[in-house]
């Protein structure tokens, strides 16, 4: 068990990998400012062990934070059979992009699929709105 578990509000260091989702894509085409697109984008899929450590339930909101931003999204179980503690998945969206580093090594390619962030429970907080 890592140090984060002993804090009053447990936190876990996450590596977040983004992916495409057909239902989310369809919702974006219909209305990128709509509820369905937000519900299908502002989510993070965690390992059940991470749920336990964060002391949260499916559908609770969590905060994801790094030096590039902080977003509040809903936590969901990934459903993957292979355990993946500390590795989480998010559909690629403006929400995940709020956490993507601007460090590119001058190559012009951001690390969209390799995001480091700290996750904590954000029970009661609303999901981050899509705006600038």
């Amino acid at each position: 068990m890592d140090f984060g578990s002993f804090l009053a509000a447990p936190e876990i260091k996450l590596k977040i990998v983004t992916y495409r989702d057909i239902f989310q894509d369809k919702a974006m085409i219909e209305n990128r400012f709509g509820e369905e697109y937000r519900d299908r984008s502002a989510v993070i899929k965690l390992d059940p062990a991470d749920f336990k450590q964060l002391n949260i339930k499916k559908g609770d909101t969590v905060a994801l934070k790094n030096s590039f931003g902080r977003i509040v999204v809903k936590a969901e179980e990934s459903g993957y059979e292979t355990p993946h503690r500390g590795l989480a998945y998010m559909p690629n969206s403006p929400w995940s992009n709020m956490l993507v580093s601007d460090e590119t090594g001058g190559k012009g390619v951001p690390r969209f699929k390799d995001i480091s962030a700290i996750v904590t429970s954000a029970k009661g907080e609303k999901v981050t709105e899509l705006r600038f």
């Binding site: 590596k15 990998v17 992916y19 495409r20 989702d21 057909i22 239902f23 894509d25 369809k26 085409i29 219909e30 990128r32 400012f33 590039f68 931003g69 990934s78 993957y80 059979e81 292979t82 993946h84 590795l87 998945y89 969206s93 403006p94 992009n97 709020m98 993507v100 580093s101 601007d102 590119t104 001058g106 190559k107 012009g108 390619v109 951001p110 690390r111 969209f112 699929k113 390799d114 899509l130 705006r131 600038f132």
Partner: protein, 414 residues
């Protein structure tokens, strides 16, 4: 009865077997298309609108303002064009030349290098029709077409009974997924799903190359050598193999050398092709059109009749370094699709957004021009993800001008 088929411009597959029922220029029903395609073709819109500083204006004012922004900029950025026709892209290249602009599309941060390798004949490729008719071993590497290109498996890569594959997926095709997670496509591949750790692709490629020549495959993450040897055996037996390379693979590589090594090794033992999983319907067209004009597929800067090229002229580096002083964004929403840490710099320069729909970028643009939906409300030509040229006509008539017509007007106003 002769059927009237349309092309869906919802993704890089450009499915050409779509039937539509429409009335009074509203699409009511879409047949054959996937979930994304139906949404795309039914994307309904109101009246054409033009805005300057978020206030409604007439067409002429919007065009005049857009031209004035481009005229006054020393180094405007022209970006987007992945969902524009060839005709629009060629005009945009001309406009970039005329305005000494930096020109780029999304391929600079996704599959551009791979498309460039195909244009330069560095990798063996084939068409999707070849895949449907001949392919016996199909690899989805860092790609999940079930979500990104929903009809890929049913129309081309796995389920069809192609002319030389009448016994279909049950007997004659092996689909393999190599990915870091069990995607929907990986589920279809069943026991042929090879799960590797994030960034583990280069090592897996080299282990696979070792296995192809009968050596013991080793990885630092201790992937079972027996499984890699089994995979190598399947690949060695391929009469017509194809790798569909997705962003999961490309983002985990430092450069494309491992892909070139693997293709060489595979073609020493078998017959393998590679097709990039291009997302936007005409990203490959942009790469081809720019290459024909300049010898580069993206990230260029026009200056005094010369063309400069390099990552410093990519959309990401240009915005990061703040080297561009205005932006014309065509059919793209960088405020949503780029890292906010980079795209926020767009808020400091005048932006012209040409888009069929309202986006974060259009909401923050100095000039917004609502364009026709390419492929639904306007026609043209494009390049499918496999390099095949596709022509399409509009499904319905519209009051909205196409991005091609708008660009012509801007160029006249310059």
């Amino acid at each position: 009865m002769e059927k009237n088929y349309y092309v869906c411009t919802g993704c890089g597959l450009l499915c050409d077997d779509i039937e539509v029922e429409s009335e009074k220029n509203i699409v009511n029903k879409v047949y054959t298309a996937c979930r994304v395609g139906v949404a795309h073709m039914k994307e309904a819109k109101g009246e054409a609108n033009f805005r300057v500083d978020n206030k409604p204006v007439d067409e002429a004012t919007a065009i005049r303002e857009a031209a004035s922004i481009l005229k006054n900029a020393k180094n405007p950025l022209i970006f987007g064009l992945g969902t524009s026709t060839d005709e629009t892209q060629k005009l945009a290249i001309e406009l970039a030349r005329k305005t000494s602009a930096t020109l780029d599309d999304t391929s600079s941060f996704c599959l551009g290098p791979l498309v460039e390798a195909l244009i330069q004949d560095k990798v063996k490729t084939c068409t999707l029709d070849d895949v449907r008719n001949k392919a016996d071993v199909i690899i989805f590497w860092g790609a999940d077409p079930s979500d990104s290109h929903p009809r890929h498996l049913s129309k081309y890569s796995y389920f069809p009974r192609g002319s030389e594959k009448q016994r279909g997926w049950e007997e004659e095709r092996t689909a393999i997924a190599i990915d870091i997670r069990k995607s929907h496509t990986a589920k279809i591949c069943g026991n042929y799903f090879f799960q590797i750790p994030p960034e583990g692709d280069t090592e897996f490629i080299d282990a696979l190359i070792a296995a192809l020549s009968g050596k013991l495959p080793k990885t630092s993450y201790n992937y079972p050598p027996k499984k890699i040897l089994e995979l190598a055996n399947i690949l060695k037996g391929a009469k017509f193999g194809v790798i569909f390379a997705g962003l999961g693979l490309i983002y985990s590589l430092e450069n494309l050398e491992p892909v070139f090594r693997l293709m060489k090794a595979l073609n020493e033992k078998a017959n393998f092709h590679l097709i990039p999983m291009v997302g936007h319907y005409n990203m490959r067209g942009f790469n081809e059109n720019l290459f024909a004009e300049t010898g580069y597929v993206n990230s260029v800067k026009f200056e005094n009749g010369m063309v400069k090229h390099g990552p410093e002229y990519s959309v990401v580096e240009s915005l990061k370094a703040k080297t561009v002083d205005a932006a014309l964004i065509i059919g793209s929403d960088p405020l949503s699709s780029l890292p906010r840490s980079v795209s926020k710099n767009l808020l400091e320069i005048p932006v012209i957004s040409m888009d069929p729909c309202e986006t974060l970028t259009s909401k923050h643009a100095k000039v917004y021009i609502n364009t026709a939906i390419s492929g639904v409300e306007s026609g043209g030509s494009a390049t499918r993800m496999d390099g095949t040229k596709v022509n399409f006509k509009p499904v319905i008539e519209t009051a909205h001008l196409s991005d091609e017509a708008i660009l012509k007007k801007i160029m006249e106003a310059l």
